[in-house]
């Protein structure tokens, strides 16, 4: 082709123009700093927003507010409006942030490649995982009892959903909690006729007498109790209260008590009845209650518990029993609290019933400074009671698993392989189940055995609600909302991976099961929550009232929940029944061993749920200041006699197994008791928890409370052997001995009460 000069110039010009034109355009994606679909509508760059939600790191479910900046959660504080914790929080609540951004969070569903071989997992997608779950559930519909769902204690709408799912499908639902509260719930039911745990009015009490319940550290609702404790000690317009704490171990509550009474393990009930004897014989209690409790026979009915007669079995001198009982009766209003290790014996129900009877004896029910019964939840579908399945009912389940009668096991919010005493044989049984499904966001001890892991959202990404247990004395429903977009959103959008809410997954699964779908008429968990919120709105009372539902819903979430301070319990407690006239002594497993083993929940990590959080691993235990490991508290004098120094590795042998822990010679633990914190010894659970320390729960003998079948976790006796090894115990406290008297006087100065 012939090309003229003019044509050439034209072509060159066009070509150059074209090149310049394309060079000057830009890829549209470059203009997007952040995809518009990702930006929450109320986001203003550089400004923070605080959202109210609930903390899901422990059973207390405190109301929290979360500081969010540019789509990332930065800080957690207590929700000032939420009635159970009124603006304050525990160390554990902060852990929710590190759980959300944990480096070892699972980024999507995992499927086992080879059954029974270690961690042979391959990534899979949500649609494949859900398909597999649906087909399995559909397959087992003919034998629904072969499907077992294990969850943590659920409350609120989640409990309702789970119950509807399990009932309509016919599956077995079991609830797991390492240190179960079954005995406490049963005591409340028998003594107060109430399904709800009571509220203790510590703030207005003159004296508090507590047995075994470490309520200033981990027991039930520690933030709420500590809020009240501050008032109890130095509140304005009141005299300083007196706290006496009875427990075989020197716990945080014991450390803060005015008087700590070390008692022989399992003898708390006998001690309480002995105090009842003193109060009745001195005619200091409520006369009608005293008559009812003694069957009209007066102190004579309790003569088996005369202080002089029980001093040796309880290990508390008779004059001390008398003095404490009289002081308590003279300083009313007073409240008696019992739980923890006191209820974790083979005579647990006997102990707690005896302890709480002291409240009845003082006639302090529903009185200022006494025990307030909690009302029912405002709506029947909001379930409040969250009792664990007692140990006694686990054995038949484990037998079924072993015999191949369980085809599918779904585990959510619990790590039973970690928490169930090894002696029950759960591990062997687990490998016999053809299909194990775990909802854990982390690879935990149970998840390693799973055939399918479908990671659920962490608490800050999910919807939910809660009826606190114990409540604050009036009707309360907390609402949980996602405060940030899910961390693995990109994986979900691009690769169908990431995490999903547990309730949402269960609702999605219901779609393939007509019977279940009928019972669960919601598409999403948010819809389910809105349904309950609509009913709350319909009540037309309480902290959130609005004419339109949209307004109500917004206010409900902004406040973190709904409560009605005037909706207190209207039930009249039943007439007290007669107290036992004879002692019921505890039975121990491991007879002949010299030490009682007292496991206790770690102040920061609880029963082990918080072990994957580095902040909580590094938060020193208040009394020993130990961090990042497992220690064993052993009496200082005993340690000296045995030649045990701090940090020495000891072997602790129970009838059910053995573990190793490092010695902490303790000046205030009885000679016949050793104590080991729960929380460590995970085989998995992320880089901060894996293979760290030892799991005390694994060596518990499977003893149970005779009446309720609940695990008697304080009923194991152990031997202690030296291994000859020694480490530097990681702890916050220095090892240099202080001079006995500082020139400038004590660091902590004390004064007598005015």
């Amino acid at each position: 082709m012939e090309l003229t000069r003019r044509q050439l110039l034209k072509l060159t010009g066009l070509g150059l123009g074209g090149v310049l034109y394309t060079a000057c355009t830009y890829d549209l994606s470059e203009t997007r700093v952040e995809s518009p679909t990702h930006i929450p509508e109320d986001l203003v760059a550089g400004l923070d927003t605080w959202y109210a939600t609930l903390c899901r790191e422990c059973g207390a479910s405190e109301g929290i507010i979360v500081r969010v900046m540019e789509g990332r959660a930065k800080k957690i504080q207590g929700n000032p409006l939420y009635p159970t914790n009124t603006g304050k929080h525990r160390p554990g609540c902060e852990g929710a942030l590190q759980a959300l951004y944990h480096p070892d969070r699972l980024a999507g569903p995992l499927r086992r490649m080879v059954k029974g071989v270690g961690q042979s997992f391959e990534p899979t997608t949500w649609s494949l995982a859900l398909e597999e779950l649906s087909s399995q559930l559909a397959k087992h519909q003919s034998d629904p009892r072969s499907v077992v769902i294990i969850t943590d204690p659920l409350r609120g709408s989640a409990a309702d959903l789970m119950q509807r799912f399990a009932t309509s499908y016919g599956a077995r639902h079991v609830v797991f909690e390492p240190a179960e509260q079954t005995v406490l719930y049963e005591t409340t039911k028998r003594l107060y006729g109430s399904e709800q745990l009571p509220h203790f009015d510590i703030a207005n009490a003159s004296s508090v007498l507590s047995f075994g319940a470490d309520f200033l550290s981990t027991w039930l609702n520690p933030v709420g109790y500590m809020r009240q404790y501050g008032q109890f000690r130095q509140g304005t317009g009141r005299k300083r209260g007196r706290l006496v704490h009875v427990e075989p171990r020197f716990s945080m509550t014991a450390a803060n008590a005015d008087e700590w009474v070390p008692v022989n393990p399992g003898m708390e009930g006998v001690l309480a009845l002995s105090m009842a004897y003193v109060i009745v014989s001195e005619r200091k209690g409520d006369q009608s209650a005293a008559d009812a409790l003694t069957g009209g026979a007066g102190a004579d009915a309790l003569r088996a518990f005369r202080p002089g007669d029980v001093a040796s079995v309880t290990g508390v001198p008779a004059e001390k029993i008398e003095r404490i009982a009289k002081e308590f009766a003279d300083h009313q209003p007073g409240v008696v609290i019992g739980g923890g290790s006191a209820g974790a014996h083979t005579n647990g129900l006997f102990n707690l019933s005896a302890i709480y009877s002291l409240n009845l004896l003082m006639g302090n029910t529903n009185k200022r400074g006494g025990v307030w019964l909690n009302p029912q939840a405002p709506l029947p579908e909001l379930r409040a009671q969250a009792t664990a399945t007692p140990l006694g009912q686990w054995q038949p389940l484990i037998d079924d698993m072993k015999a191949g009668r369980v085809q599918m096991l779904i585990v959510r919010g619990a790590d039973p392989l970690y928490g169930i005493p090894k002696a029950l044989g759960f591990e062997a049984a687990l490998s016999k189940v053809p299909m194990v499904v775990s909802f854990s966001s982390f690879m935990n001890d149970t998840a390693v055995y799973a055939d399918l892991i479908v990671p659920e959202h962490t608490g800050l990404e999910d919807w939910g609600n809660d009826v606190p247990q114990p409540g604050p004395g009036f009707q309360t429903v907390g609402y949980q909302q996602p405060v940030v977009r899910e961390y693995h959103e990109r994986e979900r959008l691009q690769a169908d991976r990431g995490s999903r809410g547990f309730a949402d997954v269960m609702l999605a699964l219901a779609e393939g099961l007509p019977k279940v779908q009928q019972a669960l008429p919601w598409k999403t968990s948010r819809e389910m929550l809105m349904d309950s919120a609509r009913k709350l709105q319909g009540l037309g009372k309480g902290s959130v009232v609005a004419a339109s539902f949209d307004r109500f819903w917004i206010d409900l979430l902004a406040n973190g929940g709904w409560w009605d301070t005037s909706a207190t319990s209207t039930a009249t407690p039943p007439k007290p029944s007669a107290l036992p006239t004879q002692r019921r002594d505890p039975q121990f497993q491991g007879a002949g061993a010299e030490f009682h083993l007292m496991p206790f929940a770690s102040n920061a990590m609880g029963d082990g749920r918080g072990a994957h959080i580095p902040w909580l691993q590094a938060a020193p235990d208040p009394v020993t200041t130990a961090v990042w490991g497992t220690w064993i508290e052993i009496n200082l004098g005993v340690a000296k006699e045995m030649g045990i120094k701090e940090g020495e590795t000891l072997r602790i042998i129970s009838p059910a197994g053995e573990i190793e822990a490092h010695a902490f010679p303790h000046p205030a633990i009885p000679r016949n008791v050793v104590a080991i914190p729960m929380g460590q010894g995970h085989r998995q659970y992320g880089r901060y928890a894996q293979e760290r320390g030892a799991n005390v729960l694994s060596i518990l003998a499977p003893a149970a409370d005779a009446d309720t079948g609940a695990l008697a976790w304080a009923a194991t006796k152990v031997r202690v052997e030296k291994t000859g090894r020694r480490i530097h115990l990681p702890k916050f406290e220095g090892t240099v001995e202080l001079p006995t008297q500082l020139e400038e006087g004590a660091i902590i100065k004390t004064t007598k009460p005015v």
Binding site: P80, R105, L216, V223, M226, R233, V623, W628, Q741, T751
Partner: protein, 257 residues
């Protein structure tokens, strides 16, 4: 210079009779102030960083040993943080003026002036200054949690409690905008957002923060309580953190720790 700034003197009152030793303040501080994760080896090397810490002291050990009565043993807790001393021994020794006393009563550390001589930590009688012996690191995903309003300190830098100055600065802006002096309401857990993270978290209200220059503030009133004392008062550092004595039925002046 004409200024509309309100003259505050920030201070704290610590009521030891309320403290249970629960560690809520410690963890809250670490979350707010981008404090490096204290791993096991940091504790073993005694180089863990805790701007606020709980110290535990034993009492009655000798008596318990003598009588065999364990109930005589007592454990007492005390939260210790930078005392923001008026006569701070750490300040005059800094060769580069990285630490000084500001006009709001705060003992301030300027990180980009600090050259890491560690003279200040040697001179601090309360052991509340911490040196970054390593470059602090977090796994990538945990960076999402870091507070954008607080500098991440590098290796070779001294750091310490700031009374959460980032919150006070924010409060200061509100003060200017609204023309109203920051008062107790702004530091209260029920109504305010500017209290330091530790005081905001404290479940028992052991830690109370406020303006010592405001005669009606809670801290001013509480500081006059007859249980008040200053830590290591004899050395004359004049702390802005006031402690209230622990009340004990068996209190005696002969406490030994």
């Amino acid at each position: 210079m004409v200024t509309t700034r309100v003259r505050h003197k920030w201070g704290m009152v610590v009521d030891l009779d309320r403290c249970t030793g629960c560690q809520a303040c410690v963890v809250a501080c670490q979350a707010e102030n981008n404090i490096p994760i204290n791993l096991e080896q940091h504790f073993l090397q005694r180089r863990a960083i805790e701007w606020i810490r709980i110290e535990r002291y034993w009492e009655g050990l000798e008596e318990a040993e003598k009588t065999g009565d364990l109930s005589k043993v007592k454990a007492r807790f005390i939260p210790i943080l930078c005392q923001h001393c008026e006569n701070a021994p750490c300040e005059p020794v800094c060769p580069v003026y990285a630490t000084y006393h500001n006009n709001e009563g705060l003992n301030v550390q300027i990180y980009n002036r600090c050259i890491g001589t560690r003279y200040c930590v040697n001179n601090c009688p309360y052991q509340v200054r911490f040196f970054n012996f390593w470059q602090p690191t977090w796994p990538e995903s945990l960076h999402n949690q870091l507070n954008p309003h607080v500098t991440v300190r590098t290796r070779g830098i001294m750091e310490k409690c700031t009374f959460c100055v980032q919150r006070l600065r924010k409060g200061g802006r509100k003060e200017v905008q609204e023309g109203k002096r920051l008062d107790d309401k702004e530091f209260d857990a029920q109504s305010g957002m500017f209290a330091p993270a530790c005081a905001r978290a404290c479940p028992t209200d052991t830690l109370v923060f406020g303006d010592m220059n405001d005669p009606n503030s809670r801290v001013s009133t509480m500081a006059k309580d007859n249980r008040n004392y200053k830590l290591l008062a004899s050395i004359g550092t004049e702390p802005n953190v006031i402690y209230l004595k622990k009340v004990d039925l068996d209190a005696s002046d002969a406490a030994t720790h």
